[in-house]
Symmetry: C2
Subunit: 347 residues, 2 copies
């Protein structure tokens, strides 16, 4: 097993599971031959899918799971009744030390609830967060929290900043990731009181040089910062709205090439020219939402991801392990305590 | 003055004032010859701009104002020090009964602060809100609040629903406008407690049939509802993010037609085909943010609007007067009290 990296896969999570999971694992294995998989789910189905993939078959162990967490299951119910589910067994596998990380394309809320229950949070971290990558005019930026924490206080947001910065440095290889707090204006007196407190904490911390102050919604796509910090309610609303408008505009652009004579003549070349844009906004390109702040690596793939997208999520998980993102977070959170903010109350 | 409708204009507000204001007024006058304008600002400048517009000159009175509220002025400072500003004098003109509504492309926060101070809120309304129209796959939808109220409670959001519905019916002519509360999921148990309270209030009110429950970010562009209700923090973040991504995608599409050979060949016809999309997302098309809930009509034009956009803002103001949007809101807020929610505490 020398040099191998084992990832536990929730074989049944996602819209096209287990097909996407198996094909995604095959792509990931081609990219990184050192990967090994523990796949949890319907064993006969998964075996059948692998029949003509000898390399993947050899790199994988399949563990039968009787149940699947439904996409619309309440996290609390999933936690109580999903002990034999493919998702839970995959998480347990990491906890037991048999795998280094878990990837699931299933129910995000259930994944967070179960992973938090099994892994617990990292020492010093008060709340884990869900992070996602978003396309910008510059490099991709990272936004957190995307919905794990509906209500946040300054300590939570400060820790999200630490976790986002550590991920950007460790996994994305950015040297000094810049941090912005999402607000309704760039001026210092704007917005919620706890945002101003977070800004004060960042300015007084070891991240002072990384912190670029408050940013507004349009600064996200402008790529003003590497890490956008916000509460889970706003992050979730902003991400889904941006995705919705991107899809809407894309569909309008497509339609414009079928509904006018000029469009129909230009269509073949125009759609060729637009492939670059399509590629840039392809959600599968940056698939892999991170559950940050947990004492275990858990990566969420988009439920509708294709095999390539799923393979990217596996790649994110592998990078988190290899680059020791959790060790960096622990280290930085300690600095944070050393900076003297430990006394700030949690909500 | 029989049959005339006088609108007070802040001649100096906006990026290209007073030029845009004067040209916008001229366009609005052509569309509605019954309009009359009271224009507040730098009289010599405004007079010079009107020199070759005899119709507008005849329909306008110019009132000199010494000062202008800067775009980045704090609302509290504007309120205290801006008593002789073009914005404030235009608001006062409505209060004095000389004009039926005010339009400004200036500082939104200052406009809200001054208009609230001078007009006060409508009877029964606890907080005014800023509403904006957004393009969707169906008809435009209306979203409020866009930033006037950073913190909201259930009573505020319920009243925003009432105000948005009344505006949609009165000004946009929709018979039974549908209402959705922006949340992180469509399920009843999701999100902030005060969102669930607002939903309960709507379900028990005269708007029960209009209320479609919780919606998520992507439902906005899908056109799921006519009125999207949210707090001012989320609304502001969501609007600016959507605008940012729309601009980003548009710029990527444009670039794709200059940066590849296929694109350059297709460009002339492709850009012709894309005009429809450009038009649909043109912010000037739906210019005119409403300040709802004030005892006086105040419309905010986008600071960067062109003359046509400014004329649209004047049109929105005129429609609000003609269709009696404030009378409708008062009437519905009374129903709200009759529905028995008057006792719910304000934040």
């Amino acid at each position: 097993m020398e040099g191998h990296l084992t990832i536990a896969l929730d074989g049944m999570g996602g819209d096209h599971a287990p097909g996407t999971v198996v094909r995604g694992a095959a792509i990931a294995l081609k990219r990184r031959p050192e990967l090994r998989f523990h796949i949890f789910g319907n064993e006969p189905k998964i075996r059948r899918l692998m029949k003509h993939m000898p390399a993947l078959e050899q790199a994988s162990q399949i563990f039968h799971a009787e149940t699947v967490i439904a996409a619309d299951e309440k996290p609390s119910i999933a936690l109580r009744q999903g002990r034999e589910s493919s998702m839970r067994l995959a998480i347990n596998d990491v906890k037991a030390g048999n795998a280094a990380a878990i990837v699931s394309a299933g129910n995000t809320g259930a994944l967070m609830a179960m992973a938090k229950f099994v892994f617990k949070t990292l020492p010093g971290v008060s709340r884990p967060a869900i992070a996602a990558l978003m396309p910008t005019q510059q490099k991709d930026c990272m936004m957190l929290d995307m919905g794990a924490n509906i209500e946040c206080d300054a300590r939570n947001l400060f820790q999200f900043s630490v976790m986002g910065e550590a991920f950007c440095r460790a996994v994305l290889g950015r040297e000094t990731p810049s941090i912005g707090i999402l607000n309704v204006g760039s001026e210092d007196m704007k917005g919620h009181e706890y945002l101003r407190q977070t800004a004060d904490m960042l300015r007084a911390s070891h991240l002072a040089d990384n912190f670029k102050g408050f940013i507004e919604g349009h600064h996200i796509s402008e790529g003003m910062v590497d890490v956008v910090v916000t509460d889970g309610f706003t992050g979730n609303a902003v991400l889904k709205t941006a995705e919705g408008y991107a899809r809407f505009i894309a569909s309008e652009v497509r339609q414009s090439f079928t509904q006018s004579i000029a469009g129909r003549i230009a269509a073949p070349l125009a759609l060729l020219a637009l492939r670059r844009v399509k590629k840039q906004f392809d959600p599968n390109k940056r698939n892999g939402g991170m559950l940050l702040g947990l004492n275990g690596i858990a990566v969420k793939s988009h439920g509708g991801a294709n095999a390539r997208g799923y393979a990217n999520a596996i790649g994110v998980a592998a990078n988190c392990v290899i680059h020791g993102v959790n060790e960096r977070i622990i280290e930085e959170i300690k600095l944070f305590d050393a900076d003297g903010f430990a006394g700030i109350s949690e909500s």
